[in-house]
């Protein structure tokens, strides 16, 4: 049994088949990338795993949990964290508060104890803060700790989103275009971070990305998609030289 197993999954929006009988599996400890032209259904796969959409057929199993039987908010409690393509941070809160929301799945206190801020709540807050500080250290966000998201530049927001996902202490990290809109240096930073996330923290990474440099640099396996279906699956080199992939990106050879 694989770590994350997506099997024969299909999703339709009206007449459009967004995901077409797609199967793939992610092994524990690897970096798995999904590539494909715009509208191939890459982000839709993420939204299926996050349970924002219900597939009409198929199954998605993560670490022994049948995700299709769980609520969207439960997916995070199993240890799946994600970022969003267009950045979905809590805009009116500070970076620190954003990361602390990431600790929500480890909440061991209830409404009444929080109302009186009992010593157990205090202890939990200190622990959460300690964990969050390690993430801040790891991603070099010290300078932005107290800043509100609404005033931060795009590149920093992108990193904060990764930080917030890491703050949940996940087993599987879903990165939706981590390098889109980043400068060359920021993309290089992101590449080393993804490498460190896998090696130091031992977190499995599943990412959607267009930057082939980043993809071939960090990923162990790549899945190429077009029109919701699987085109090719293999190492970055194999996928890049696959005739079907070249055709999907560049069209027919005349």
């Amino acid at each position: 049994m694989s770590f994350l197993e997506v099997k024969d999954t299909t999703l339709k929006f009206g007449g459009v088949t967004a995901v077409d009988n797609l199967s793939f599996s992610v092994e524990e400890g690897e970096v798995f990338a999904i590539v494909g032209p715009n509208g191939a259904g890459k982000s839709t796969v993420f939204n299926l795993i996050s349970r924002f959409y219900d597939p009409i057929a198929g199954s998605i199993v993560f670490d022994g949990h049948d995700l299709l039987k769980s609520k969207a908010s439960e997916v995070a409690t199993f240890g799946v964290a994600r970022t969003f393509q267009n950045i979905e941070l809590f805009d009116q809160a500070t970076v620190l508060e954003n990361l602390l929301v990431g600790r929500h799945r480890h909440r061991g206190t209830n409404f009444v104890s929080e109302l009186f801020f009992t010593p157990s709540v205090k202890k939990q807050e200190l622990q959460s803060r300690h964990f969050v500080e390690e993430i801040i250290d790891f991603l070099d966000l010290q300078a932005y700790r107290e800043k509100r998201i609404a005033g931060l530049p795009y590149g920093v927001r992108k990193v904060v989103e990764v930080a917030r996902a890491l703050a949940t202490d996940p087993k599987l990290l879903l990165l939706d275009e981590p390098a889109s809109g980043l400068s060359v240096e920021e993309t290089t930073d992101m590449r080393w971070w993804i490498d460190d996330i896998r090696r130091q923290m031992g977190i499995t990474v599943l990412m959607v990305e267009h930057d082939m440099g980043l993809v071939s640099g960090v990923s162990d396996r790549v899945l190429a998609m077009a029109d919701g279906a699987k085109l090719a699956l293999g190492t970055p080199q194999e996928v890049q030289s696959d005739p079907a992939v070249i055709e999907a990106y560049l069209g027919h050879v005349a």
């Binding site: 969003f84 805009d91 809160a93 929301v101 799945r105 206190t109 409404f111 929080e114 807050e125 803060r129």
Partner: protein, 365 residues
């Protein structure tokens, strides 16, 4: 320029930033405790009124300011809290039991209403809650046997720790009763907002999709917020009933709901301070208007004139000014002034400018 040097996580976890700030709040507390010795009974009554409005404002602030769910129906919960408290007292339940129970019951009713209502978003939720507010009037008339209908009810004096308290006979004691409730609720509110539940409220307000992706159960969090909001509003309603002395189906009209919402917008959405600042505006505006009317009347040699609807007109005008020029309310303006002073001379004009982001991940609805 004042810089807080942080060396300990507790500095961020405790409610005050540094001793200076703690001192300010202690002085404020001392002033409000000493208030009955400083001002006469008329102004003490006005201050009591402001505190009750601030309590109701905090109730709505949890829901609208922190969880981002607009409600135009909170007068209904004021009414429920008020009638629940008085009816229980008439059945012989002592005030010390009836009062918290009235809050709890209002909270429960809130949760029950929240489950269907919070499937609605934004303007639709506002319309649904508005309908609830309008219905309240009819429900009070229809349930005349309990509520007294159009002829209304009178609030009996209440007994707290052996002291008989009533608004007219013992205004000082009544003030302390209200102050006690307000302080306790405020402390609870502060505690919640620095704990996971408070943060999940903010998460739901700012982005439901990513709150969900962080493991926040949206429906439960919203219901929790609605329940808490209604419970606090119910307590405010009970005090409002006692303060008014007599009330009927028209006391908690839809106007009160709208006033309450306008109050927290003027005060500043998303801050506890905002509820208090808004209440000060709402509470003192009628007095201010009547005093200035007399003054204007004297200026022209005549007696004061009655202008129908003046209060609402001025109130609406103030609201429009705030929405146009300071959407963050009085507290938002204060934050800007404070930042200006603290950073002098490094304040930038656009420091608080809101960035519009047009690209949001599909909202899935």
């Amino acid at each position: 320029m004042r810089i807080v040097f942080k060396t300990d996580y507790m500095q961020d976890i405790r409610p005050w930033k540094d001793t200076y700030q703690l001192m300010l709040y202690m002085i404020l507390l001392a002033v409000v405790i000493a208030a009955p010795m400083l001002i006469d009974d008329f102004y003490l009554g006005e201050l009591t009124n402001v505190l009750i409005w601030a309590l109701a404002g905090m109730g709505l602030m949890v829901l609208t300011g922190h969880t981002g769910q607009a409600s135009l129906g909170h007068a209904a919960f004021l009414a429920f809290g008020c009638y629940a408290n008085i009816i229980m007292m008439e059945q012989g339940v002592p005030f010390m039991v009836a009062f918290p129970l009235a809050g709890l019951l209002t909270g429960l009713v809130g949760v029950i209403i929240a489950i269907p209502a919070l499937r609605l978003h934004g303007i639709y939720l506002a319309i649904a809650t508005l309908a609830m507010s309008i219905l309240t009037d009819d429900i009070i008339v229809l349930t005349e046997t309990w509520t007294g209908g159009v002829s209304g009810k009178y609030a009996p004096p209440v007994n707290v720790f052996g002291f008989d308290i009533d608004r007219w006979g013992t205004p000082k004691e009544f003030y302390y009763l209200v102050l006690g409730v307000v302080v306790i609720v405020t402390l609870g509110y502060i505690n919640l907002m620095r704990a996971p539940l408070g943060r999940s409220f903010i998460a739901v307000r700012d982005s439901e999709v990513s709150a969900q992706a962080m493991g926040v159960d949206i429906a439960r969090t919203k219901a929790m917020s609605f329940g808490l909001s209604c419970a606090v509003t119910g307590l405010a309603g009970a005090l409002m009933g006692l303060f008014a002395g007599a009330f009927n189906n028209e006391t908690f009209s839809v106007i009160i709901s709208i006033e309450l919402l306008m109050m927290i917008v003027i005060g500043g959405l998303g801050s506890i301070h905002g509820a208090f600042l808004g209440a000060i505006v709402i509470g003192f505006l009628p007095q201010f208007l009547s005093i200035s009317k007399e003054w204007v009347g004297a200026l022209f040699g005549g007696s004061s004139v009655a202008i129908p609807g003046l209060e609402f007109g001025v109130f609406g005008f103030i609201l429009i000014l705030f929405i146009l020029f300071e959407p963050m309310g009085i507290y938002g303006r204060w934050l800007k002034i404070r930042t200006f002073i603290e950073l002098f001379p490094f304040y930038r004009k656009d420091m608080f400018k809101r960035q519009k982001s047009y690209l949001k991940t599909e909202r899935l609805r």
